[in-house]
């Protein structure tokens, strides 16, 4: 018998049944298995692995109505079926176009489309318009977000590596990196983690371990805004034409003065001074920190140390 036929019969049987079926019952009900018990076992185990690998949720649960406790198998229809999203043809076409126009490294989407009605002809750019990297943690974290499962992983921050457990709420791709935002069990605070700093595998818990809150936004902070301590207002002078890009990086509202020669003065609240110093120096000799005096002196001292090496 074609293995496909046996797999289809097994799936139909496990979906059709009203209660869990023992392995012996399955051997009787589903044609195509060898008679020899050991061969049957092997074939059945392989079939279960194949089906589970496809995402078919075969459950192992007690069979009711038996004198001694015995386990059996079934598929709960509510866990198997994809509810119809009710996609209009133009909406399905748009999703098709997205899968063609955007490359997500190592992730194939075509079978997702099959479950929505198959690939359709689309008009649109022939070439890719965007490409995104993938991280090993991406799929497990997205799965955890969908099912409200906790996620545990090894995370490398600048000082050390530590184990974190979070309730993951959302994924964001910003500035070329993937971030997960969630409730950090250690601190009880919402935190963001960069996926390329996760080492090894993500361990996910059980479905429904937490409730996702309604308003979870991505905290888009600049490096100099992060950290503990009181912010200090720094004034930075930037020449033309770099002033245009400084305005983009610091925000137009940070520009407090525009001079005749085109240069601009920015006022920025800084918590992490080394991060802001790095930004100021990235303009090389086209920018200078004006105030406060002690931070201007710090820049001079920093540069003198480099000059002396």
């Amino acid at each position: 018998m074609d293995k496909l036929e046996r797999l289809l019969n097994l799936t139909a049987t496990l979906l059709d049944t009203e209660r869990a079926l023992t392995a012996d019952e399955i051997r009787e009900l589903v044609p195509g298995y060898p008679d020899n018990p050991a061969s049957f076992r092997r074939a059945f185990e392989r079939d279960k692995d194949d089906l589970r690998e496809m995402g078919i949720p075969i459950r192992l649960e007690p069979v009711h109505g038996e004198e001694r406790p015995i386990d059996g198998y079934r598929i709960h229809r509510s866990e198997y079926y994809l509810a119809d999203p009710g996609l209009e043809p133009d909406e399905l076409a748009a999703l098709n176009l997205a899968l063609r126009a955007v490359r997500l490294d190592g992730i194939q989407g075509v079978e997702a489309l099959w479950k929505l009605g198959g690939a359709v002809e689309v008009e649109g750019p022939a070439s890719e318009v965007a490409s995104l990297p993938s991280e090993p943690a991406l799929v497990p974290l997205f799965g955890a977000i969908l099912d409200c499962r906790t996620a545990t992983f090894e995370y490398r921050s600048s000082e050390r590596t530590a184990t974190r457990t979070i309730d993951p709420y959302r994924l964001d791709y910003r500035r070329g990196h993937w971030y997960v935002t969630g409730l950090d069990h250690l601190t009880g605070q919402r935190r963001q983690f960069r996926l390329d700093r996760i080492i090894g595998q993500v361990q996910a818990g059980e479905p429904g371990e937490f409730e996702r809150p309604a308003d979870v936004a991505f905290e888009d902070s600049q490096p100099w805004e992060l950290g503990e301590g009181e912010p200090v207002t720094v004034r930075l002078l930037v020449d033309e034409p770099q002033a245009v890009w400084a305005a983009r990086q610091l925000g137009d509202e940070a520009m407090v003065e525009r001079r005749d020669d085109g240069s601009a003065v920015f006022e920025v609240d800084v918590v992490n001074w080394p991060a802001f110093r790095g930004l100021a120096l990235s303009y090389l000799d086209h920018a200078e920190v004006l105030e406060p005096a002690e931070l201007r002196d710090d820049v001079v001292a920093w540069l003198e140390a480099i000059e002396a090496r």
Binding site: L95, V102, E111, V129, L171, S282, L284
Partner: protein, 315 residues
């Protein structure tokens, strides 16, 4: 025919049958083949298996009914397979991530079919669409759209472009070939008439843009190319990076990385522009030592520091 694994055939059948079963008149074989990416003879072989499928006791009125007539296929009584299998996490990710990425392209309609499609898929997954959001780059929407229109209309553009690497602003005529986003930035790939060569420009460094009344028909359309490929002639440096500077090897393509004592690293980098290297050295300060490299790069930190100090001392 059994080159394709039984699992692969099963995945396709479990998707294709619900779709067919929802159509009382079925569908033409060609359409099924196109939608589900299957060759005609493979499809017919799989359908051949299907009409023997059922559950015990396999009475004829409980078997799946496959009718092939005049090159159309229709299916009845496929009760257990009336709906497709739910999306696996990687499939769900593919749909939502690519959908949100395309929705993040400037000019995308926030109320259009793509946005609606993503919202519907998110709903069956049990989440809001904002469970995954994408920002492709920080260039101005107007610029990205204007350049894409210039690509489509095959028009030359004039750019005032700030070369971050060379630290200078120049005007150039460019035949735009492709607009794309990668690594969190928007880029224009085009033929630059100033350099007389293909160049990749970061769109957020375009100061001014004018679409010219010149057709670019005749400029060859290139293959997709990576954004930065160091050549063999690009100078290399060897840097010792103290622990706070380890991020350099995450951020920039490095060729050789060696662990040193105390959490430090020794890394070899290609340096394609002096200004870029100066910025890195000034930012890292005492956390970097240039161990090896051409003279100009060995001196680069000192010279850049001196230049910036001159500005601070002139006040």
């Amino acid at each position: 025919m059994s080159r394709v694994s039984a699992s692969a055939r099963l995945r396709r059948i479990l998707a294709l049958v619900p779709w067919l079963a929802s159509r009382p008149d079925g569908a033409p074989i060609d359409e099924i083949c196109q939608r589900f990416g299957v060759e005609r003879d493979q499809l017919l072989a799989d359908l051949d298996v299907l009409w023997m499928v059922g559950v015990h006791p396999f009475s004829p009125d409980e078997l799946i009914d496959v009718i092939i007539d005049d090159d159309r296929v229709s299916i009845r009584l496929a009760d257990w397979f009336r709906q497709p299998l739910r999306l696996t996490p990687d499939q769900a990710l593919a749909l939502v991530a690519t959908g949100q990425s395309l929705a993040a392209v400037p000019g995308s309609d926030p109320d259009g079919p793509l946005a609606r499609g993503i919202a519907k898929v998110a709903a069956v997954l049990g989440v809001e669409a904002d469970a995954l959001e994408v920002e492709l780059g920080e260039a101005e929407d107007e610029l990205v759209q204007t350049l894409q229109r210039a690509v489509d209309a095959r028009r030359r553009v004039h750019l005032d472009y700030y070369s971050y690497g060379r630290d200078e602003l120049t005007g150039r005529d460019v035949d735009p070939l492709r607009v794309f986003a990668e690594g969190g930035q928007w880029y224009l790939h085009g033929y630059c008439h100033l350099s007389e060569d293909e160049r990749v420009f970061r769109i957020d460094r375009i100061r001014d843009l004018e679409v010219l009344d010149v057709s670019t028909d005749g400029t060859a359309r290139p293959e997709v190319s990576g954004v930065f490929q160091p050549s063999a002639e690009t100078p290399r440096v060897v840097l010792d990076l103290a622990p706070p500077a380890r991020w350099v090897v995450e951020q920039y393509p490095t060729e050789v990385v060696e662990e040193l004592e105390g959490g430090a690293l020794r890394a070899t980098l290609a340096v394609s522009s002096l200004a870029w290297f100066e910025r890195l050295l000034l930012r890292l300060g005492p956390d970097v030592t240039v161990v090896e490299g051409p003279d100009e790069l060995l001196r680069a930190g000192r010279h850049a520091a001196r230049r910036v100090l001159a500005r601070y001392r002139s006040r």
